[in-house]
Amino acid sequence: MDFRFDIIAEYAPFLLKGTLLTIGLSIAGILIGTVLGLLIGLGKMMKNKLLAFPFTLYITFFRGTPLFVQILLVHFGVVPLFLGETNAIYAAIIALSLNSAAYIAEIFRAGIESIDKGQMEAARSLGMTHVQAMWNVILPQAFKRMIPPLGNEFIVLIKESSLAAVITAPEIMYWGRAMAGQYYKVWEPYLTAALIYLVLTISLSFLLNRLERRLKTE
């Protein structure tokens, strides 16, 4: 087996661009997914079962169907519906955000529910509103506990962004497949792609570990 480093070198600029897009897709998915996830998580925790139902439904749908299907639905269905034509990058960001929001919602809910209810009672007894108590007392504590599961979700998100290749969003796997197609090679493109993903996920878990340790010592 002759391993052709020259084709990797040839594709390096594209893979670099692809890596930047993968990072971009992931960051957008994480940020939008976190904001949406918080709202959906809080929505699901509402005492009124009727009001909470749509949020439960959302989580059930997005956790219960494959991301691949969701990406295709958004790319060929949802985005054209609103924009007239589709756009692979928008579609990838939307699908990743909606999907991760469902998981993050459950992480938020579990984090919030893990805080002793005496904390809420103490805050309310001091005259704080529910929102003030949530924001100043519950969420800062819950957030610390949510870092490990959130980190997991972010790592999953980076890896799953590779599915965007099938809707031609030019991220890492898109260029990997292009390279494989051009040279009829397997090891060079896919091992290179795997290595890039590894570097990304290892860097992220390193950052999250540091953040976790910093917050612990505070």
């Binding site: 009672e121 309310r124 001091l126 005259g127």
Partner: protein, 240 residues
């Protein structure tokens, strides 16, 4: 100051408070005693609306707190509460615990809140712990901070829910001392406790609760030395 009329509270089918009637005068220190499950903590939590009321009325300074038109958050600002398990905010330092409610709720400036907080910490003897985190304090210190935190909102009434029950015996005294001081200053207090010495010494009135009713209420000396009701006698004979 506090008028409780026909108060009833149920958790599902379980009626915990059955027709409570009680008036508490300004500056009065009322100590509530009784066996566990008698409803004394629930009564206290109803006064602060931490438990919703099933039936009846509670008026604080003439305002019906069960009336939906009255702002619960506003009323809670006037009623401080101290919990058995302190419930300090562990992610904030001691002084930040004291400053949070005044700055967020009353919109007091941080400098004013800090000065007031330090003054209160001095009062409970913990000035030097201002920048410590709650996890580094002993139980007695935590509870004194919790009292100071409640006082930071300048409440007119203080509720104490078994404030010394979770403490090691040797630190109970320091918490009771702070409470005694508070009573001396004329704070209206409702205290649920098992500390009979405190009830006797500081209480203006002792209320014995059992099975969701106020069985007997009297000045401490009378209630302890000459209990009228059989159930009060039985309870006191077990603990004294």
């Amino acid at each position: 100051m506090i008028q409780i009329q026909n108060l009833k509270k149920s958790f599902g089918d379980n009626e915990v408070l059955k027709d409570i009637n009680l008036n508490i005068a300004p500056q009065e220190v009322v100590v509530v005693i009784g066996p566990s499950g008698s409803g004394k903590s629930t009564l206290l939590r109803c006064i602060n609306l931490l438990e919703s009321i099933t039936d009846g009325h509670i008026h604080i300074e003439g305002k019906d707190i069960t009336d939906k038109k009255n702002n619960i958050n506003k009323m809670r600002q006037e009623v401080g509460m101290v919990f058995q398990h302190f419930n300090l905010f562990p992610h904030k330092t001691v002084i930040e615990n004291l400053m949070m409610a005044p700055t967020k709720v009353r919109k007091v400036s941080p400098e004013v809140a800090r000065n007031k907080g330090l003054e209160l910490l001095k009062k409970v003897g913990l000035e030097e712990k201002a920048n410590a985190y709650p996890s580094s304090l002993s139980g007695g210190q935590k509870q004194r901070v919790a009292i100071a935190r409640a006082l930071a909102m300048e409440p007119k009434i203080m509720l104490f829910d078994e404030p010394t029950s979770a403490l090691d015996p040797e630190v109970v005294g320091e918490v009771l001392e702070v409470m005694k001081q508070l009573a001396k200053e004329g704070m209206t207090m409702v205290v649920v406790t098992h500390e009979m010495g405190f009830a006797r010494e500081v209480g203006d009135r002792v209320i014995f609760m059992d099975g969701g009713y106020v069985v007997e209420a009297n000045v401490p000396k009378e209630l302890f030395e000459n209990p009228q009701h059989e159930r009060t006698q039985a309870f006191l004979s077990k603990i004294l």
